[in-house]
Amino acid sequence: MFAMKINDLPLNSEIAAGTETESLLPPNPKSSGQRGWSRARRIPALIAGSIMMLLLILAAILIPWLSPYDPITQDLSAFLQPPSAQHWLGTDQLGRDLFTRLIYAARTDLGIMVLAEIIPFVSGIAIGMLAGYYGGWVNTVVSLVTDTFIAFPFYLIVIIVAFASGAGAQGIYITFMLVGWIVFARVSRGLTASLRQQEWVASAQTLGLPGWQILLRHLLPNILPQAVVVLMTDMVGVLVAIVTLGYLGIGIAPPTPDWGTMIADGQSFMTTAWWLSAVPGFAVVYTGISLSLIGDGLSDLWRRKS
């Protein structure tokens, strides 16, 4: 889906270099799990990203107690107020508290972002591993499909599919079920294909281990770290897509708070109340930075291990 992001990642060569070619045993990523935490503490990117994410999640959970306002009830007597002590970020054109809506929107958008990625993540890895391990016509078909999607304007696909599957969260889930798996299939296909050349896979095959056991017990644990790093970057893309659909009016339907529709609503008041559009965008950027930091940190963590 996000071709440009995949191309940035250090893929096969790095993983292949990290695994010992001489060994007949698969590298076991779980062997040093206990020391993981002490190692993680030494990676500032991971710490910073996790703290930023935790703060946002905490705020989203606690918002009913943090704010006296309702995100949907209108108060036309208090419309378009500038930031003040009562309304930290002011109010929108319908008199709703901007800060309250901003945090409620985090609930909507982050929730959909995570749910929309679960099925693509699992199915993409499964498809990619099967194609990479067995090769043949499965591989040909998968690579043709992924190439087709990657070569096609992402937003055109998303807009058409989201429109076709109806507005709202349901449409977003269907859209990403259809297009989201591709990025994971690409990554895991490449990794599986390069790991398959390793001698420990050949020795497992000689021992008569069935294919599914090699895939699940030996190859999957070695692919998962890289896939999780990709997941972090991809989630940023999914979030931006959700927000963009909301902005275009084919995503989350009002009055449910969503950063995209908030930006769209604020656009008419650019000259008088610019923060209405600017602030929800900063929330997206904040989330994006925290996910990127976590992704960078995790890839650092796993690279140092090998």
């Binding site: 996000f2 071709a3 440009m4 992001k5 191309n7 940035d8 043709l144 190439d147 087709t148 990657i150 070569a151 096609f152 304007p153 992402f154 937003y155 055109l156 807009i159 058409i160 599919v161 429109f163 076709a164 599957s165 109806g166 970057t233 940023v236 893309g237 979030l239 931006v240 927000v243 963009t244 902005y247 275009l248 084919i250 995209g260 930006i263 656009q267 650019m270 000259t271 610019w274 559009s277 600017a278 965008g281 997206v284 950027v285 904040y286 989330t287 994006g288 930075i289 996910l291 990127s292 930091l293 960078d296």
Partner: protein, 330 residues
């Protein structure tokens, strides 16, 4: 020294010949276009919502709706509609007439093309220019403050929705500084260029981080290679090494990446047009979506598929031509 015939060597190593290579690439491109068109045809017809009802309004009688459905061919089975669509595509090179205005889709798209193409071209030029400057600055100042700043950039911009960047630029340069118009497109070529500058910067902005990252990494790779060390030892001026040797060798992978990303850039353009109120392909897409104008949506998808595939093919051919490792000796 024995002279190796590259052509025979390539054939023996299993590389396809140039013409065969181009033929395979073109065939693949054709398959992609066909797949996309078919997928879009069936996708947009699953949508709930009847275009006939939408045109005639809420109070239309059942008979008039049925009559309109008949004239539009919507009462046919999906398969018959598809056959009719394929026939029009191959005989007229068109996806039919707009359901709403009755105008040929090809004409509708042709009328909107110049603005969108100019926007894309302008965005490409800006993206390449900015990326070159930033990548050279980062690579030549490796691990200094400037390099770190340029490298932090992608992590921040990754999560920036392109339409929001556009809004911020409008706010700063349009509303506050009055340097550029807030929206719309002015008459004439210079007017068009002037009003498309801000949208083009917006589109380019989303591409620059990835390009800089790739080009910087490639440049550092080349800078560390043996031939650059030799050039340095031969006291070739730094500037000459950098621009004549390093950049030329480092540019190819970035060019390939840019080719892949162009499809992303085109998608971004559709959204950015909406922000700046530009009457291009993007705004045509959105009006057609809200009026369920199937033939137009279909036409735009086909048009974009052809454009993207053609660009991809072109980049492949150029890269293959440029890369000395695949180029034949003359």
């Amino acid at each position: 020294m024995t002279k190796i015939n590259i052509r025979t060597a390539r054939r023996e190593a299993g590389f396809p010949s140039s013409w065969r290579w181009i033929a395979i690439a073109a065939l693949r491109a054709l398959i992609v276009i066909l797949c996309v068109t078919t997928a879009v045809f069936f996708l947009i017809r699953i949508v709930p919502g009847d275009p006939a009802k939408m045109i005639l309004g809420e109070y239309a009688t059942d008979e008039s709706i049925a009559a309109l459905r008949h004239t539009l061919g919507l009462d046919l089975s999906l398969w018959e509609q598809f056959m009719r669509f394929v026939r029009t595509l191959f005989t007229q090179g068109d996806t039919g007439n707009s359901i709403v205005s009755g105008v040929s889709v090809r004409e509708l798209i042709a009328a909107r093309t110049p603005v969108t193409l100019l926007l894309i071209a302008l965005a490409c030029v800006l993206a390449i220019a900015f990326s070159l400057v930033l990548a050279v600055l980062a690579a030549t100042n490796k691990d200094k403050l400037l390099d770190h700043l340029i490298r932090v950039f992608p992590a921040i911009t990754l999560g920036m929705p392109v339409f929001w960047v556009g809004l911020l630029l409008i706010l700063l340069f349009g509303v506050r500084l009055h340097w550029f118009p807030v929206g719309g497109v002015k008459e004439g070529w210079s007017g068009m260029l002037y009003s498309l500058t801000l949208p083009a910067i917006t589109v380019a902005f989303s591409q620059i981080p990835t390009l800089v990252r790739s080009l910087r990494a490639q440049m550092l790779d080349v800078l560390e290679s043996d031939f650059v060390v030799t050039l340095r030892a031969a006291r070739i001026p730094r500037r000459v090494i950098l621009f004549k040797h390093v950049l030329r060798n480092a540019a190819l992978p970035t060019l390939m990446l840019f080719g892949v990303n162009l499809s992303y850039l085109i998608g971004g353009t559709l959204v950015v047009e909406q922000v700046f109120g530009i009457k291009g392909i993007g705004s045509l897409l959105f009006t057609s979506i809200s009026s369920r104008d199937f033939p137009v949506i279909q036409g735009i998808a086909l048009y974009c598929a052809v454009a993207v595939v053609a660009i991809g093919l072109l980049v492949d051919i150029v890269a293959w031509w440029l890369d000395p490792r695949t180029k034949e000796k003359r």
